[in-house]
């Protein structure tokens, strides 16, 4: 019996090694593609596109073939009946999930979706430019159909939207997500109304003016220095749509500079730092397997939002950072930390555009998209009725009605990519950020002094220990439970914003 056990373990080990090599190979191909995409966004010359498209397509199909090969399926089966450590079992779980998804959908459908989205993107762009929803509607309808079909293949018994949501957030139940989003909607609508009616006189022009690009870049580097970015494993560049990408050995940040938006460049840099800092906290030894890869979109977004909002939009941060900003921009001489704090936390209650929203109204933009895409996929809403539904919801939740579809339902790129189920992860990320920050302060005590001194060792140590180092070892809801002792909840976020904005806008009852 002991011998049999030893033998089964040893066989499991050999099989696992073979499996791990395959997984690492897939991961390396994916990381190579990541470098190619970074290159394309940041440094590639304009006319490099045709060759780059072919290179990326080749890497993507190699990766797909490696993942969906019969050998992968056989290894998974063998390992699922072997006696594995918790870590190894987690690797098997993650690859099993990807394998099942990829092998359940016929290749022709994958290709049809890929072609349709390639075609949808220019249509969406044109529709937005010309403010003509009719240009986009037919291809959106086609995408909705194809995505429903896709979901049917993955799991014929499940709610199709749930299947699509799980594409981005595999380990948070849709029910949990819905509960959080409804909670946000129900609490934020009255809070924003109260702010709208408030007479408070916030200083909003602290960063008005024109700011040189090169100086903004130097200041972005100052920001990253303050936050403790590891330049030996990262770099800062500019990109039209800022993003972070890479691995624990090389996690890069991009940002952008607009002459009249110094604050935007600072907060965007902090946001992308949060993403990169998560990546840098993944364990080196897990490189190439899910143990060295970030948990999914919501956890990633929790890291960017935690740094952007809980650190970067706090009073103590501006007490620390304003003197540094003044070195680069002497015109900020007369701005006080309190004024900077107020400018960084202004609520734009009549804004129609998601990407220009503040941290409060932002979630109503998300709730609106979530409700619409969920109803689109279920068939409760027809594509042709999207513009009116969109505008009605803006009026109901935010008290403003878009006058055009360009600044209404055509504003975001996501649906043209067929990305239904993606939007909720933005809000879940913010909610989780607040929950994590509260848990960190529970354990470490109030962090304001640390932020004021730009001493992030304790906070980052807590994040490394409770989130980063685990990679994908735990399912998301389990990871949250272990880190905070609670299920995912909007409570901490609501407490945070009610306290902060109640104070800023001198709201009664908050």
């Amino acid at each position: 019996m002991a011998t049999d056990q030893a033998r089964s373990e040893s066989e499991g080990t050999d099989t696992f090694d073979e499996f791990e090599s395959r997984v690492q190979r897939i991961s390396n191909v994916g990381n190579a593609a990541g470098i190619l995409r970074w290159d394309q966004e940041v440094v590639m010359p304009d006319e490099g596109t045709p060759a780059r498209a072919q290179q990326l397509s080749t890497l993507s199909s190699i990766s797909h073939e490696l993942l969906t090969a019969d050998e992968t399926g056989q290894l998974l089966e063998e390992l699922e009946s072997a006696d594995l450590s918790e870590e190894r079992a987690a690797v098997v779980r993650e690859i099993r999930r990807q394998y099942d998804r990829k092998t359940s959908v016929p290749q022709e459908l994958v290709e049809e979706i890929s072609e349709t989205t390639a075609n949808a993107h220019p249509k969406w762009k044109q529709a937005k430019e010309e403010d003509d929803f009719e240009t986009f509607a037919p291809v959106l309808e086609k995408l909705v159909e194809l995505k429903r079909e896709y979901a049917e293949h993955v799991d014929p018994d499940a709610d199709p939207y749930e299947v699509l949501f799980a594409e981005y957030e595999p380990y948070i139940d849709l029910e949990t997500a819905e509960r959080v989003l409804e909670n946000l909607r129900d609490e934020l609508v009255p809070l924003i109304e109260a702010i709208d009616e408030s007479d408070a006189d916030l200083t909003t022009d602290a960063f008005a003016g024109e700011f040189d690009d090169d100086d903004q870049e130097a200041l972005a580097r100052d920001v990253l220095d303050s936050l403790g970015y590891d330049w030996d494993r990262g770099r800062l560049d500019t990109a039209p749509h800022p993003f972070s990408s890479g691995t624990q050995f090389d996690a890069r940040v991009t940002t952008r500079f607009e002459e009249d938006d110094l604050l935007g460049s600072i907060t965007s840099t902090i946001h992308e730092f949060g993403h990169a800092n998560y990546t840098l906290g993944l364990p080196d030894e897990g490189y190439g397997t899910p143990l060295g890869e970030a948990r999914d979109l919501s956890v990633h977004e929790s890291q960017s939002r935690l740094w952007e909002n809980h650190v970067g939009r706090s009073r103590p941060f501006w007490e620390h950072f304003l003197p540094i900003a003044r070195e680069r921009f002497p015109e900020l001489e007369d701005v006080t930390p309190e004024e900077a704090y107020e400018a960084a936390n202004q609520v734009y209650d009549d804004n129609l555009i998601r990407v220009e929203a503040d941290e409060l109204t932002y979630h109503l933009h998300i709730v609106i998209r979530f409700e619409i895409e969920r109803d689109l996929i279920s068939g409760d809403l027809e594509v042709e009725d999207v513009p009116e539904a969109w505008n009605d919801k803006y009026e109901e939740y935010l008290g403003v009605r878009p006058e055009t579809d360009a600044e209404g339902c055509l504003q975001d790129i996501h649906w043209s990519h067929g990305s239904f189920g993606y939007f909720p992860t933005y809000s879940l990320g913010s909610v989780l950020a607040a929950q994590l920050y509260a848990a960190a302060e529970d354990e470490l005590g109030d962090l304001d002094d640390d932020v004021r001194e730009a001493d992030f060792d304790a906070l980052n140590g807590w994040l490394r220990e409770n989130i980063h180092q685990h990679g994908k070892q735990y399912e998301t809801q389990e990871l949250i439970r272990q880190a905070t002792g609670e299920e995912l909840t909007a409570d901490h976020f609501l407490e945070y914003v009610e306290g902060k904005y109640g104070d800023l806008y001198a709201l009664e009852g908050y």
Copy 2:
């Protein structure tokens, strides 16, 4: 019969399409690896190495597996008996050659060579730093043995050095290469002696001084503008060891700036432009197959040397470029084009270092390496005797004897990579550059006026038509024959340098 013929062609076509997809896939993986290597040299943060090494190793093994797969062999066999166009037959010929090489060598030997070179590089570095040949000798000996074994697998009937040379230059006979190198040696040794004995008083300090890096970079961009570099398909960056890489859609140049070496930065930039310009001239429609890839090392080097030497070190170039350089560096105000020309063509007859050599003595550095590595591989020279053989040859050919091995046989990295047979391609490239430039002038007339006006349309048009557009369609010696009407010959190079340096150094009999 007509039907059979049609059928055989159509089957050939289907098979060719399948074959071409496979070839394109291999090419795309290789080009992706090229981007990863560019990234590593130019922008990657220091600590990115471990992950990058794994990514590159994965891409390399995927590429190897695709090339050496049984399917590749079957497709090759089918296509070799099909009725193919000249272009398609060339694609088959090129892949056949790679396939045969790769499949003839056992994977264990490939891995042993790979491990040994990985180990050899630090040993070489240490040996060079400590000027201690004994540190490098054992691993060099091992590499010589392994490379002999490698050659034996590829072709047991051939001279092993010939097999290794063909790794870098598959379509130039070693006999031709030897003839050219001997010719160079026999003619250059007396020419350099004559220069050594000349009383000519060249101006060599035209570019003495200290030059700011940023201004040097601006000037490097001016150089590339003058030469007509296509910025929509390229970029300029810095790298410790300048190189060019990429494809016809995206061919990038790197250079380096040293405060006290403005001239070196200019000539290095022109050299790398020549490489990139060749890549940019490859046909777009051939991307992904040998028809869209550069012929081998000697032809590539002919392009860099043609621009560097025949254009960039010419009188008319400096008549054009000196005024531009003065805009960036007013301290060059009093330098005349003739003085710049003299400085750019100074012969360093007591220089021991290949990479610091002028365009004349350079080839004796190469001949010495060629003679030594050929004798090492044949067994006519033992590793322990390399330092003395090296020093003797320097004394014999160049009239200088290295006092240390660090500035002698340890100076170059190549042998630590196991690259025996690489060195000759440098000289073959220069020789071919002169042959091509002469053929271009034969057809287009004297090009001095064009160079003086920085009008390179005719010259580049000639290169595009006679070299670039053909990719790998023709074997190298055939390509040279078609472009110049002659076999590869050192005659034009010797005529060029004898005329140029005879004039510069007022040599009798030249």
